[in-house]
Amino acid sequence: MPQTKKRMKGFYSGIIVIALLLQTGCAFKDIDKRIFVLGVGIDPSEKVEDGLRVTLKLAKPAGDVKQEAAQSFSYLSHDSDSVAQAFYDMETHVDKKLDLGHNRSIILNKELLSTDLDEPMDFFTRRGGTQLIGYVAVAEKTAEETVTFAPDTEPPATIALYNFFDDTGTESPYVVTTFLFEFRRQALSNGKNTVLPIIDFNEEQGHFIVNKSIVLKWGEEPVELTSSQTKHFNSLMNKASGFNYNIQEDDLHLVLSIDEVKMKYKIITDEGQTPRIDMQITKTGVVSESNKRLKSSHLQKYGEIAATDIEKKVMELLTMLQENDVDPFGFGLRYRATRLSRKDIMEDWKRIYPEIEFNVQVKVNLKGTGIVE
């Protein structure tokens, strides 16, 4: 009996293999017949009404990476009704297959933020084969300019923008990273507003500047954070290290370098009390610059000075966000997460949030005065 099976199997598989050898190649496409999209910029179109202008950054493979002097990218731009349409139009503009599989940056024009973002972003999440760990960012100038800008420090076969966001190159508390999947889950779920980094560049000196961010409000005017606010937000929310902090007290000038941040908060909505958020922040670090000789025994005092200062800044940030009715910290999410589900829970939160009180306690632990006193 096994003999039969074997023979029949051999017979069928033989036929199948022959049939397939004749039709192979339907998905077979060599790597040099593909061109990789490394960045997508989306601007509102000037030519097409209600349309979009999509800019693609394409990598030109170089024979020998080491001998290549400068970067070798080419760019494609096209105006169309939608991102998908523009993309498929542009497929006719290159001789190779446009491959989105390596795309890691999606850069949006600021003007787009206040319109309905659903439609342009849908293309990236609906279409399989696009990375969900790509970065979403906002361009200070136009997206097209940002995508096509090549900084001086960009060597061949690397993309400078990726290094900003992927935690392997620069790590700065000013840089907020938002992955596409985070963008998606925050956009489609209630209770948290998305924060996107703003990319600016300096053309004369040839470098990018990424130190601001913007809080999205779906379909409404977004709220921009200054670079200092971005820093505070990022250090609390993402526990970004490398946080530098300036204190000016009388004639004492200190720069602290914080390397550990802890943040806890609790939403308290007891009956009869104004709802409030108790936030506890602990920061640990060392002094990295001072205009005076410091005493190790006074470390606690310096810490307290810093704490009051930081407390004020954080309060300012929180109230500013509250006044603008945005919630990038996800307080609303936490509110839902700590209460049993019911239908109108988000309506309740929308009522509570504008009048909620913040109660911030900051503690700064200074571990030393650096390697000198």
């Binding site: 293999v17 397939l20 050898l21 192979t24 998905a27 077979f28 496409k29 060599d30 790597i31 040099d32 593909r34 990789f36 490394l38 990598a59 493979p61 170089a62 024979g63 020998d64 990476v65 491959d99 599989g101 390596h102 890691r104 084969g129 990375q131 076969a157 690397t158 993309i159 990726y162």
Partner: protein
């Protein structure tokens, strides 16, 4: 003085053996005592014959005492039937006739009985000598290392045209009797015109003509033999071959080196890890290259994808032809350096490997990455300790490349699982090939308790 007649058996035998130059039939007689010898000169040790048979004959007082002397010799054997007797005489036995009594003495001359160095499976530690081409020496070597009364040796005359001796060794206490019976049946059914070495005996034992993987293991190392005897396996030795067959085996036997037992744990663990990594590399890397360059470049890191794409600029062929071409040359190179005399093979490797590789990239026939991959594959093929398995893997990976070229990344994965299925469905004398040697396993399934 009555002339004693040549025994009729002698006449009959010599007519059958004639005409042979080296056939000797001599009568011995002194003072009315008579004896007859029949042997083939070229396979009989003359000195020994002289020492143990001829001289005592002349020193003995009577035919009776000579007969009982001969009877007591350790190399005296029973007289088999005529057909086998002929085979015995042609393999170095001496037939002695004293009156009506016939005796058969084994005085064969063996000149290939030196113990060989381990060539195929060398190790740094452990025994450096292998076994011998002569079966008696081999049996001696094994007995010397495995001194247990339960070690049984059964010899079987091969039923082919050269009548070699085949010996079956096993530890009576540890072996599974069903399995032993199976091996014996297979050996009895043996129907082959010519068996020259352990290698081809193995094929006849396995019966199946088309197999991808070896289902018995061939080894030249006495320590491996003893190790396996101790684990209840059968060892089959054949005269004239410097290796023996071990059965039944499982896949993991092919991936173990005897040296694993001689090192400290950390070293052993590391080398085993290396070996399995090597196995996967040489099996999967060429197919991975095809899958990743032609179907899913987005799996690679961006920098690597760009480098691969850059390297492939100007390469005229699709990736799978590139891989097949380079693999083909690599296999040619391996095959060539194996067959060439040692003095020349170094040059062949240099010319082939270094110069050809560089030139092929320069001429844009292959990408640089491809050359790296092929070298990595070539090296890791040699990491597999048992040669037969590494040969099998070399063939298997071609199938895998075809499957990948047809179906892409999914093809590679599914094909690989198909390969595991092939292995899992294989049996070596009733033992599942992919059985993971846990303890207690036998209790769980029926087949092991049959």
């Amino acid at each position: 003085m009555p002339e004693t007649k040549v025994p009729p058996l002698f006449n009959e035998l010599s007519t059958q053996l004639e005409p042979t130059e080296d056939l000797i039939q001599t009568p011995l007689h002194i003072k009315g005592q008579h004896a007859f010898l029949l042997y083939v000169k070229s396979v009989v040790e003359g000195d020994k014959l002289q020492q143990t048979v001829i001289r005592p004959f002349f020193e003995m007082a009577s035919e009776e005492s000579f007969a009982s002397y001969i009877q007591s010799l350790p190399n005296q054997t029973k007289i088999p039937d005529k057909k086998e007797l002929l085979i015995n005489i042609s393999s170095g036995f001496v037939l002695i006739a004293i009156r009506e009594n016939h005796f058969l003495l084994d005085i064969s001359l063996v000149s290939n009985n030196e113990v060989q160095d381990t060539m195929v499976e060398p190790t740094v530690h452990g025994p450096q000598k292998g076994i011998s081409e002569d079966i008696d020496t081999t049996l001696n070597l094994i007995r010397q290392r495995y001194r247990k009364p339960s070690l049984k040796i059964e010899t079987i005359m091969a039923d082919d045209n050269t009548n070699r001796t085949i010996a079956l060794l096993y530890d009576d206490e540890r072996i599974d009797p069903d399995m032993l019976k199976q091996v014996k049946d297979r050996l009895d059914e043996l129907d082959a015109p010519l068996i020259q070495a352990a290698g081809d005996l193995q094929h006849f034992i396995n019966k199946r003509k088309f197999t991808l993987f070896p289902s018995t293991l061939i080894t030249e190392r006495p320590d491996r033999i003893v190790y396996n005897l101790n684990n209840g396996k059968v060892v089959i030795a054949i005269d004239g071959s410097p290796d023996v067959i071990i059965a039944p085996v499982i896949f993991f036997d092919f991936m173990s080196s005897m040296e694993d037992n001689y090192h400290v744990f950390s070293v052993t663990a590391f080398t085993i890890f290396l070996r399995y990594t090597g196995l996967f590399i040489c099996l999967l890397l060429p197919s991975l290259y095809v899958a990743m360059t032609s179907y899913n470049p987005d799996i690679l890191r961006l920098e690597l994808a760009l480098t691969v794409a850059g390297g492939r600029i100007g390469v005229p062929y699709p990736s799978f032809i590139e891989v097949f071409g380079m693999l083909f040359f690599m296999e040619l190179l391996t095959e060539a350096s194996m067959r060439l005399p040692k003095a020349v093979s170094g040059t062949a490797t240099t010319v082939g490997g270094l110069i050809l590789g560089t030139a092929a990239t320069e001429a844009a026939l292959t990408s640089t990455i491809m050359v790296i991959i092929i070298s990595a594959v070539a090296i890791s093929t040699f990491v597999i300790p048992i040669n037969e398995m590494s040969f099998a893997i070399r063939v298997i990976r071609l199938f895998l490349i075809v499957y990948t070229a047809l179906f892409g990344m999914v093809g590679l994965l599914v094909g690989f699982i198909g390969l595991v299925m092939l292995l899992a469905n294989k049996e070596s004398l009733g033992v599942p090939y992919l059985r993971i040697p846990w303890v207690n396993k036998n209790e769980e399934l029926r087949m092991d308790k049959r």
